[in-house]
Symmetry: D2
Subunit: 309 residues, 4 copies
């Protein structure tokens, strides 16, 4: 069937068939409490071509229980977030956190919402509270807005800030589209590759990575929507399968059908949980906590939430 | 196929087949500029049973061009809103406007957002600005919250207020679910029947109508979502049709398939435009303007937007 | 000098001179960590007349260090809030929490902001999460809005809800005006007397107390503003004192002066911290936590913040 | 008495005494309907030194009636805003609008709120709606946040954007402090000098002007607060005057007194209208409308509000 839009390396259809050192793609999974961690490593151009993604490491933390208003899943997720970010960001030096997306569109607001809760310290200098002196890493955090609202390319705003601050690394937060609805607000992807053009809900036109910014870029994303067209495709696949239909033989006919549903009715529609506003707030809180724990290892467990505002 | 969830009388599947005085359902359509007005009248129990709705008049104002950032469609819609509301609400006496739904869930926030812009005058009395004296009808407006947030049945809160104010009519605003995605934020249904239990996105448990409140209740709703299950059903229908499949014969099999898609993946998911936050704000503005023009006929054209805040 | 507007019993000018059993007013203070607790008890009509307040117990929790972004002061305040509320609310039965004030005026938004974080359970019934069954007290929470926005008297909305729910007690949250700027967002007053008409920033016209609602009402308030006129009065007093001016002799002249400053320039102006938005969020969080701990004693320490949303 | 903090050139105490060509300061006033326009021109270094401000033109539009919920004052203000901005910005070329301040602190949120309503067109290119082609000037609009929240100097973010866009002019919006409470949300100052370091509520550390950005900068500000210390000073002045006190003789004693009131009680407190949230929204709407009319002269009267969102 036709290509499905997803920003998760884990959901790439090619991944199911082609892994192994020869193919250039390594994949391993491990359960940590409520969190299933999947690491996809693309080690050469061959793998990059097969998955349509840059060479690098893609860590996916899936925590289906996250939506259930319980304590443990969140703690497990935050813990893995901290470890993954720590493994991708240099141990010292200024860090710049960028919240991509549009604050006023709920499904695209993850980045700005995380930024609101990142502990920002770069400006403190002399004004650091006495009890915190010597224990804070220099962090700045900006939500640069989106092209459609500001009229300025996001990447250009970020580039200007990077040139001024000269951080040792950038962490870019973005809302993603996924293939499966269960991933919405329950899965986090962290990649050391930066952000590709055209990815994310906001469809950035320029990449944010080491090539464009000159420093390592860690991309952290959470699926917020599934495109409605994906649901239509899934329904058709299921039906075809159930009716003993030969999908390979009729692939073109099915693709044409999906296209008709999309054109006639679905357009730019997305599938999302009804209570997405609350769930994006929860996952933003967890992501920010993970980032803060990774970037401020010298703060006590109890100090971090207080400083998050 | 199995029953599709919709709050629009216009989309009732029965409507396509059964109209006419004998069936108890009258239907007529008229184009007003960019707005297509459809009036469905259920005139007896027979019609009520066929459509699964109360006896009464359901006016649907559809304005597909509304999303296109143009002036005329909005003006046409506001004008029809004013006329329809005027035709359903007594010409004098206190009016109470109720904004149903959850302010913090975008797809359910239409009611509270409209309430924010309704001109409220009941409390003014002596403090009415001199220039407005004698020209204002007494209006109050309350967003009572939802059961899941307050722990109190919405209808009970409304009943308490009605008993105190004793209005001549209640206008209840609610976000709806529709069958077709094109209706989202482009269609308004106004009914003189009040609100049924289980309708609206919030699924109110108790009816808001003349029986429960003791005064006429005008229900005004706008579709905000389509249930994701509906998309799956549409895709299957289309496929079945295209493949020369006999839907009637395999109805049960198709229903079972849809159920599987829903159970496995769609759950409580809804389909919505990506930029729903902006579109609900726009339609709330238009609805409030229509209500204000209907309830405050003695205000000048230019005074109303200013008083809307 | 002329009477200063304050909602804190602790700041009543009469209190400084007249206490003791004969006067009908008892007062005691105790330090709990960072929190200074002052209990003013008005035990008879004589005391009530002297202070211009109802007979009852007024507990003031002052925590000047609260604004300093530290952990301990907040914990100490939450702990005293829990104990005070527990001592004023019956040990079992439904509780209704009312958030007075206008959500859209920052200085008046404390009540609605607290309501957003109170754990609401009354509607759960069968749907209580399995792990919480038998451990939750029935609580509902409503922010009824203000007369100027809804056109309906707040107290009438509350009365309707009370008649329906028949709670064993009402807790009413309100933003207050104080005499001293240091009290803003750092002091909480909890009184078992309910709320008087004309108190709070919103100037409610009808009392919320046992007489009007038929059940005990605990009033919980936090100063959010000092009226600008108060600052002018303080400056004049200070000057008069410093210049060896006999205030008693020139009291009328001073009063007239203050009136002129107020009329000419201050009107409805209030004095408030520049970052009041952030501080009201912080104190609302602490107040909600205190209420939740008092009303849900069977929840574990860690469960409460998660359920607060 | 000691220097009073104000960001309005019009309120400079020196201005009252020293104007004229020799002094280097020209001042003229004209009434336009409800709006009093005052133009202060500083024409040489002597005038600059006397007022403590840069050489340039400061236009103040005062509209006391603005708070009265009437139509005409707003229209008059918008009209003068358009004309003043038109006179300060080149007739063609890209314009960058910068909204300074902290969106989450109401008193400091004017800049971001105006930005939300400026018509942004720079990114449209091919996607310009057909009806608008050839009629839109290229405009971009950014709210860069404040140092205390992002950790990055605002001016550096702006400089990066200016270097990328190379606009013909920058318009910088900011919330100001004034000396008189009547100015709050009723007065707009537009200056062709850019923004000085230390001005505005947010106290920017670096200037935004032609020297630092390389292009002309128009500074547009609205007073949002009066520092509470100012009120204390006013009260003392008034008292001293009334009591036949020789202010010049006792200036030091008065200054010391004010300092005591400030130290003991006022600190960082500000005086603001109780309903500042609503009033900042109203003035932001008027300012954005004035900017849009100035920058998009080829749009029809009715099109502009619709495009403002």
């Amino acid at each position: 069937m036709s290509r499905i839009r997803t920003d998760l390396a884990l959901e790439s259809s090619a991944l199911q068939n082609v892994t192994g050192e020869i193919a250039g793609i390594l994949m391993r999974q491990q359960q940590f409490g409520e969190v299933m961690e999947t690491v996809v490593e693309i080690i050469n151009e061959r793998g990059a071509k097969a998955l349509g993604r840059s060479i690098g490491r893609y860590v996916t933390l899936a925590c289906a229980a996250l939506s259930a208003d319980e304590l443990e899943p969140r703690d497990a997720l935050v813990s893995r977030l901290r470890q993954t970010i720590t493994s991708m960001v240099p141990g010292c030096g200024d860090v710049l956190v960028i919240g991509l997306g549009n604050r006023k569109i709920t499904a695209d607001s993850l980045g700005p919402k995380v930024i609101d809760r990142v502990i920002v310290t770069r400006h403190m200098g002399e004004q650091t509270p006495p009890g915190l002196k010597g224990r804070l890493r220099s962090v700045s955090a900006v939500a640069p807005g989106v092209l459609g609202v500001t009229g300025v390319e996001t990447a250009e705003v970020v580039r200007g800030i990077v040139e001024h601050i000269k951080p040792c690394a950038v962490i870019a937060i973005d809302a993603l589209a996924a293939r499966e609805t269960q991933r919405i607000c329950t899965t986090v992807q962290i990649a050391d590759t930066g952000i590709d053009p055209g990815s994310g809900i906001g469809n950035h036109r320029m990449a944010l990575n080491r090539e464009t910014l000159g420093v390592p870029v860690v991309a952290l994303g959470v699926p917020m929507v599934v495109y409605a067209a994906t649901i239509a495709r899934d329904a058709l696949s299921l039906l075809a399968g159930d009716l003993g239909f030969d999908c390979d033989k009729h692939a073109q006919a099915l693709d044409a059908l999906v296209q008709r549903v999309v054109d006639e009715q679905l357009g730019d529609m997305v599938v999302t949980p009804r209570e997405v506003d609350e769930r994006v707030a929860n996952i933003a809180e967890a992501v920010a906590l993970g980032i803060n724990k990774a970037l401020q290892p010298d703060l006590h467990e109890d100090e971090i939430p207080l400083l998050m505002h």
